[in-house]
């Protein structure tokens, strides 16, 4: 890990602690569910739960939470997911071992007619595997954690999730069956495939992963050769749990690269886009970048000067092809710390000094938009905080500072088996 100046260490500690606090402040201690967003009435997001579970060991190691308290929270969460209804009922919590994307914070039942989400279930399971690995002591609680973690993971029917197609489906609804689109192009789905491949009960075949990677595009953009994906979260999410440095699947072997290096290059592409700033948004520059999925000023077209600006609400912003409406996602810049620490820290310092109102109490908002601020002086910062932003920030700062999550997942046989079946080799997998 990179050695930091005391001021940097202090700064990161503050941001990380604020991110961690989200999971204390916006969780239901009865069932472990974590709110998708900090705004009142928001439902739970199962992916946010996955990040929250992964965060508890960080809290323990950092001294922000006792091991017992973390174990209690973890156990409540796992007991809920193990015991909640799995059926085709439209108000169940899950089906075939997968879970619905959004759940009611209290009852744990499906809300918003959300889809049974393969990727969000994978992010939840990744968190479950973290706690199943971390809580390794002999006490009854920790034993039960390990038992439930294994049971919940083993229950998932990954084969069914292919929907008789070549690749995994993105979702399923009791009202309509599988959503009729799968995964195309590089995305955050490596963790999904790794978990599906490693299953001892219902594994997907290796050709499923090969089918997905066949849709990759290796591009040279702004002089960087990399596996393209526009939004930065795609280059972060699987990396929150898996250390891809030095390990290669067949695609990366052919390109003489690895996914860790790829995320570094993607980060530099983001920085270069902001430096070029082709659409002349306010604030963009070499220290102000970070384009990812998140909130924005809302859907509207507004004339500013000689241009008509199109703003969006929640959307997956990406570069260089867009969409781009001038919104920066601060958690995206922070989450690139392990891959491009120098420019990430420089961006963080710039954010702190240039836009202090964005980082009140070090709690990162989903986005800020200096261009929109020109229209509405109070409209710089988007409303509320997102659980996913806080989770990825929490885990990536930790991976940068200590590598804790990566080390835990290296010890988890499921991850190593899944990676091997996907064709990964080399590095720490040896």
């Amino acid at each position: 890990m990179k050695s930091l100046a005391p001021s940097d260490e202090d700064l990161l500690e503050r941001f990380q602690r604020a991110a961690f606090n989200y999971f204390l402040e916006h969780a239901n201690n009865e069932n472990g569910l974590v709110s998708d967003k900090s705004t009142p009435g928001a439902p739970a997001s199962i992916a946010a739960v996955g990040f929250g579970l992964s965060g508890y060991p960080i809290g323990v190691e950092r001294g922000w939470l006792t091991r017992d308290a973390a174990a209690r929270r973890t156990l409540a969460t796992l007991q809920f997911f193990w015991n909640s209804e799995q059926s085709e009922d439209p108000f169940a919590t899950g089906y075939k071992g997968f879970f619905y994307h959004f759940l009611d914070m209290k009852s744990g039942k499906r809300v918003w007619q959300s889809e049974l989400s393969m990727i969000d279930t994978a992010l939840l399971l990744a968190g479950i595997l973290v706690v199943g690995t971390y809580f390794d002591q002999d006490g009854a609680s920790e034993k039960e954690i390990r038992h439930l973690a294994d049971a919940i993971y083993t229950r998932v029917d990954w084969q069914w999730a292919r929907g008789a197609q070549e690749t995994l489906r993105q979702g399923w609804k009791p009202e309509a069956g599988f959503l009729h689109y799968g995964w195309e192009g590089y995305s955050e789905a490596i963790i999904l495939y790794v978990l599906g491949l490693a299953s001892p009960s219902h594994p997907i075949a290796a050709d499923c992963y090969a089918g997905w990677t066949s849709t990759y595009q290796w591009e040279n953009i702004y002089g960087q050769e990399f596996l393209y994906a526009g939004p930065l979260f795609i280059h972060h999410f699987s990396h929150a749990w898996i250390d891809f440095a030095g390990i290669q699947d067949p695609f990366m072997r052919e390109k003489n690269c690895d996914y860790f290096e790829n995320t570094k290059r993607a980060t530099f592409v983001q920085q270069e886009y902001a430096r070029r700033n082709p659409y002349e948004y306010e604030g963009y520059g070499e220290n102000c970048w970070g384009f990812s999925a998140g909130e924005g000023p809302g859907y509207r077209n507004i004339s500013i000067g000689s241009k008509t600006r199109q703003f969006f609400g929640y959307t997956a912003r990406g570069v260089p092809f867009g969409p781009d409406d001038g919104t920066i996602c601060p958690s995206a810049m922070l989450s690139s710390l392990p891959f491009a620490p120098d420019i990430s820290l420089a961006a963080l310092r710039h954010l702190s000094s240039r836009y202090p109102q964005v980082i009140a109490n070090y709690a990162l908002p989903s986005g800020f938009n200096p261009t929109f601020q020109g229209i509405d002086p109070t409209g710089l910062v988007t409303e509320g905080r997102l659980g996913l932003d806080q989770g990825i920030t929490l885990l990536m700062i930790e991976n940068f500072r200590s590598g804790l999550i990566w080390k835990l997942m290296r010890q988890c046989p499921t991850i190593a088996i899944g990676l091997s079946r996907a064709g990964f080799a080399g590095g720490w997998l040896k």
Partner: protein, 521 residues
């Protein structure tokens, strides 16, 4: 709103799809494409080539054969020029040009100009221009001109009478070789209530006399996207429904996404992943029922434009009598030499090809002509076929897609140049888009390219030439490109490729050489 008489278009069109005012322009046009009172010639002996269908493929073959001294008959049941001239590329691109003008007026400030105080769309003027352009272009393929070139032109529906003969206007024509180039027609989805509610297709939409206030476009392929954008810019409230997750299925994801963004900016309501389930009339409105997974909704509109694909014109030709195999979806079965199951009969264009474009019809007709009359062995598979969707920005492609290369086990590297890095695109306020050139990994061999740019259709020819002639990308860096032009993107791509060849060893050696050179001075 006045609909063209042929709004429903329920049967194959055997007359020109013209329902426009009987003005001088239209009279001149009709005289060129389907003159009243035309007297078919009397067949004289056996023809070297009988061509059925006077669209782009048929015209190319007939003219080429006649120019080389063949005795040629050209049979057309509708209008000379086929879909392209009459109800396809020509009218649609003309309308798109008008719509772009209105879009540029509204965006005048982006170009440093004052926006007009009022922008009133004159729809009838736009349609008049279509008729005028169509009439002008029809001159070059007029029936009189074809006759003057020595082609026997027969107007009327053709039917094969046997393996070497065809009947038209009660006359039997005997041939040594024949070419079927009857084209294709719009496919109509099987949607409850659609026939009763009425709908437009490309065969009828250009004859509208009033702009639909609210237009539902069904289908997110090239035709649907182009006309959705055009009508939106002409002031219609447009909703486009597409049953796939993205527009232009098969096109690169980023290209389709940019198009989607562009359509949204034009104010079009986009319904992806949505099926058009049924429609009913309610007063003067049509109420369309849509479904996206488990979300049902309705859209109220004044007109429905259907653009969900094209079906080959294989009916009523009595192909069985000629021993020509076909099916109603794939069209006429041909081998790589464009020969049908009757060795004397060839096919070209939309009636037999997957890629239903005017330029592919033209190219395939040249192959068929060579193979039919001059013992040629030219193959359809040898063609390098570009295509373009004329939205704003345009989307053009040639060669392989990444997924196709991967399926064949070919590793690719893609060089991407953003139009916002091309000076001329910046000066013209046309920075949106990209040029992606797919290279065989480790080489500069161009296997394919996709472009999204305001003038991508003009630009794609450069890469098509390179692929066809086997030129590598590096060749573009040796060609001087006029500055400033948007085609300079190719030079930038070549330069970007060259930089990838600059390995650390080369850099080291270069540095040492230059240091040594300084020392010698």
């Amino acid at each position: 709103m006045t609909m063209p008489k042929s709004e429903n278009n329920m049967q194959q069109n055997i007359q020109p799809a013209i329902d426009a005012p009987s003005d001088q322009t239209n009279a001149a046009y009709m005289k060129n494409v389907h003159p009243a009172g035309w007297k078919n010639p009397k067949p004289a002996g056996v023809y070297n080539l009988v061509v059925i269908g006077a669209g782009p493929a048929g015209l190319v073959a007939a003219r080429g054969a006649a120019a080389l001294g063949a005795k040629v008959a050209l049979l057309e049941r509708g209008a000379i020029g086929g879909d392209c001239l009459n109800v396809g590329c020509v009218p649609s691109k003309t309308l798109i040009r008008t719509s772009r003008t209105y879009a540029e007026m509204r965006a005048a400030r982006n170009y440093g100009a004052q926006e007009p105080n009022t922008i009133d769309v004159d729809f009838q003027m736009a349609m008049e221009r279509i008729r005028s352009v169509r009439a002008r272009i029809s001159k070059s393929d007029s029936i009189l001109r074809l006759s003057e070139e020595g082609i026997d032109v027969y107007l009327g529906a053709a039917r094969f009478a046997g393996p070497t003969s065809v009947v038209v206007d009660n006359q039997t024509l005997h041939f040594k070789k024949a070419l079927i180039a009857t084209g294709a027609r719009p496919m109509i989805p099987d949607v409850a209530g659609l026939n009763d509610a009425g709908y437009l297709t490309n065969e009828t939409v250009f004859d509208l006399s009033e702009r639909p206030h609210r237009l539902l476009v069904v289908g997110g392929g090239p035709l649907g996207c182009e006309l959705a954008q055009a009508f939106s810019r002409l002031g219609s409230q447009v909703t486009i429904v597409q049953d796939e997750p993205m527009f232009l299925p098969g096109e690169e994801r980023d290209a389709a996404q940019l198009l989607s963004d562009s359509l949204a900016r034009d104010g079009i309501e986009i319904r992806l992943n949505t099926t058009f389930e049924s429609v009913r009339r309610e007063g003067t409105s049509k109420i369309a029922s849509l479904r996206s997974v488990d979300y049902a909704s309705t859209v109220e509109c004044d007109a429905i434009l259907v653009g969900v694909g094209r079906a080959p014109n294989v009916d009523n030709l009595n192909l069985e009598a000629a021993g020509v195999r076909y099916d109603s979806v794939q069209g006429i079965s041909v081998n790589d030499f464009l020969q049908t199951t009757n060795k004397r009969i060839y096919a070209a264009g939309d009636v037999c090809l997957e890629h239903k474009f005017t330029h592919t019809a033209d190219a395939s007709a040249r192959i068929a002509l060579q193979n039919a009359l001059f013992l040629g062995h030219q193959r359809l598979s040898s063609l390098t076929i570009p295509w373009c969707t004329y939205t704003d920005p345009e989307i053009a492609h040639v060669g392989m897609y990444v997924r196709e290369a991967t399926a064949k086990g070919i590793a690719l590297n893609t060089i991407t140049i953003l139009m916002h890095d091309v000076d001329r695109a910046i000066t013209d306020g046309e920075e949106e888009g990209f040029v992606k050139i797919h290279l065989r990994s480790g080489t500069d061999q161009i296997l394919g390219a996709t472009m999204v740019a305001r003038h991508a259709g003009e630009m794609i020819s450069g890469v098509t030439l390179a692929i066809e002639r086997g030129m590598g990308l590096r060749a573009f860096s040796k060609v001087i490109h006029a500055y400033p032009t948007q085609a300079e993107a190719f030079k930038k791509a070549a330069d970007a490729y060259n930089r990838t060849r600059l390995t650390s060893t080369l850099k080291f050696l270069s540095k040492r050489w230059l240091a040594w050179s300084r020392g010698r001075l």
